[in-house]
Amino acid sequence: MGKKVEITCISCPMGCDVELEIDDNNQIECMEGNNCKAGEKYVRNEYYNPTRILPTTARVKNGVLPLVPVKSKDPLPKEILEEAMTEIAKVELEAPIKLGDIVIENILDTGVNIVTTREILKKKQ
């Protein structure tokens, strides 16, 4: 017995609701509701390997702010976002920080780096 999966395509503002029928071998048997080819590609990827950029913050010592915003340089598999948050929470950086500094290299063996997205100057004493 196959199963049905619903995915909203977000490749354009139409936001088509796409319905997939998946067979026992986890193959997409049929796709309905997408209005175009770009949608098909998105939905296929979203079914087999959904990924997201993770933007969050990391702690900073001696900076003008106590936090620096960071992001995953490339999209991470969706199901490890929460785990990645835990890893990032362990880090504490020291100001000054430049934009693009690597915070964690190869997080959770994904091959993706976590990088800073702004500079943080050192706090004046």
Partner: protein
């Protein structure tokens, strides 16, 4: 009083002020001052740490701080003067700018031209009038965003969010990833004003429920918020008796709309639009007061910062033209009017004669969501141009480029745009 003089003063150092100052510089104006009340430049973008900025302008997806950084860098490279931690208190019709900071005290600046770029602020609980007690734990979503992303303070553990615009959606994900439980996002309207992408990636990814046509009818709790009472609403947004239910929570985030920040503009005598809440401007973003310009969220609330940049470059260029010796005017101004299913259009009028101009972009918002539409441009009764769109949403700004030659004739005194269902 400390007296100073600048050719151009830009009020507000967010993306709007930065782009306007940069463009005025690139058009040859050198004597420019940006005044910002915060301790740094960048405006609201510094707290918008999520990605989704810059796809149109830079062709790549950036976070808010990264987008801001590009412009801050450009301003630094040009050596444009900046006053931080400085609050503008008054702008007069003859373009004197009064500001205050702790180093210089009160400052009076004589400006040749002024660009207003103060951004917007959030509607509060008072503005929407929810009954009940007044416990701690009720915040506007943008305030909570600043606490969490810049000040390392998480407002609570069990959260309800009222309003499903992009800020509400983004904050639902952020609170969830910071370990809070987001019980629900409530929306008064039958549709969300947020991008579909945010509904998917901020709510559905984490199984956060989005409940349409519901609102908070009561806030409960003594010192700290303990729960909210929620009810379904009818088509006139009136709560339906008997549908009430209670959600336990210690935090309520309000994401119920933004209002352009225009106290300064109004006091200066700038003519305002009751629909956008911002100044009435021509296509150069000049207000009714010659030499006073406005751009960004102070003019109308933008969904994407890319459009803020586009608009602010226009304001910067016109301000430079004005300072370099004035702007030629059309013999007759053109009023730009919203028609069916159009909430508003910026600019409100076209008054300038610009020789090398190819087109004027009209920015507008639909009143109601609609699929398969035609956007029509009329001059009087005569249709000039149309454009098809698969879908329009009130949350997404529509750009409608109008070629100069379509309205260059002096006979044209008004333009109108409507959005109608396409006849198949």
């Amino acid at each position: 009083m400390n007296n100073q003089k600048y050719e151009l003063v830009v009020v507000g150092g967010g993306p709007a002020g930065l782009a306007a100052a940069q463009e005025a510089y690139d058009q040859g104006i050198r004597d420019i001052l940006i005044i910002e009340r915060d301790f740094e430049l960048g405006g609201i973008l510094q707290q918008c740490i999520h990605n989704g900025f810059g796809l149109h302008y830079f062709g790549e997806e950036l976070t808010g701080p990264e987008y801001a950084h590009q412009f801050i860098k450009n301003i630094r490279e040009r050596g444009i003067d900046i006053k931080l931690d400085t609050m503008v208190l008054e702008v007069t019709p003859d373009k004197k700018v009064f500001a205050i900071n702790s180093d210089e005290g009160m400052i009076e600046i004589d400006a040749g031209a002024v660009i207003l770029a103060m951004g917007c602020r959030e509607r509060t609980r008072e503005a929407i009038d929810i009954p009940g007690s007044r416990p701690a734990g009720v915040y506007s979503a943008g305030t909570a965003q600043r606490y969490i992303n810049m000040e390392q303070w998480i407002p609570g553990e069990k959260v309800v969010i009222l309003g499903s615009g992009d800020i509400g959606l983004i904050m639902a994900r952020r609170m969830h990833l910071e370990g809070a439980e987001v019980e629900a996002v409530l929306e008064l309207l039958p549709f969300s004003g947020g991008l579909t992408r945010n509904i998917v990636q901020c709510l559905e990814d984490f199984d956060i429920p989005l409940r349409m046509q519901q609102t908070v009818v009561e806030i409960k709790g003594q010192d700290r918020l303990e729960s909210v009472v929620v009810a379904e609403v009818d088509d006139n947004f009136k709560p339906i008796k008997g549908t009430e239910y209670e959600i336990e929570c210690d935090t309520l985030l309000l994401s119920v709309g933004l209002i352009p920040e225009n106290e300064l503009s109004e006091e200066a005598g700038v003519e305002m639009s009751s629909i956008t809440g911002g100044p009435i401007v021509n296509e150069g973003r000049e207000t009714n007061i010659e030499g006073i310009f406005a751009c960004g969220n102070v003019l109308h609330v933008h969904d994407l910062v890319d459009w803020v940049t586009e608009e602010s470059l226009i304001a910067g260029k016109t301000a430079a033209d004005y300072l370099k010796g004035g702007i030629a005017k059309r013999s007759k101004a053109i009023d730009v009017n919203p028609g069916e299913n159009v909430g508003y259009i910026v600019p409100h009028k076209i008054t300038n004669k610009v020789d090398d101009r190819k087109l004027v972009n009209l920015y507008m918002r639909a009143k109601q969501p609609m699929a398969d539409v035609k956007i029509n441009l009329y001059a009087g009764d005569k249709k000039l141009l149309d454009k098809k769109a698969r879908r329009v949403e009130p949350g997404e700004m529509i750009t409608f480029p109008v070629p100069e030659k379509m309205f260059s004739s002096n006979d044209i005194s008004s333009l109108k745009v409507d959005i109608v269902k396409e006849e198949k």
